[in-house]
Assembly symmetry: C2
Homo-oligomer: 91 residues x 2
């Protein structure tokens, strides 16, 4: 795993609004419109953050008709966890 990729994964967690989004996703898959309702940002800003979260691999997206459903990616989280374990010396 190279440095660039690792940094990309963790980009998911280094913005306040993305943390807020991830928190909402802990209770399960949510539609973009639902996420938007509970935040004080515009729709394009949400879309931008969701792209960042998808790119990091921490969130999965599923399109259903006009709706976009997002959920936390177990696989992505595990990659992040593995990196932290590595730093801890628990390779």
């Amino acid at each position: 795993m190279d440095e660039r990729k690792t940094a990309l994964i963790f980009k998911a967690f280094c913005d306040e609004n993305r943390i807020r989004i991830l928190k909402m996703l802990t209770s399960g898959e949510k539609c973009a419109c639902k996420l938007l309702e509970e935040m004080n940002i515009t729709q394009p800003t949400l879309s931008h953050h969701m792209k960042t979260l998808l790119d990091s691999g921490i969130v999965n997206g599923r399109k259903e008709g006009k709706w976009m459903h997002y959920s936390i990616s177990e696989e992505g989280l595990e990659k992040a966890q593995k990196y932290l374990d590595y730093l801890k010396g628990e390779v």
Copy 2:
């Protein structure tokens, strides 16, 4: 744990050079000058990244004479791990 603090912790991991620094610290405490030797950045840039790492709580600093020794903070790492566990639903 509020969103701002969480984002701050993870700032540690979202820059390539900081990932490189953390990698070097996995083999144990290192002096700033030693870290600098192995990177292609200037001394002030390293200093700047070390400040970010200290602020995030992921790295500990220890001053000894003119040297500054840095090491990975188990406590900081555990906070990061707890957050990932929380996202995974393993509260």
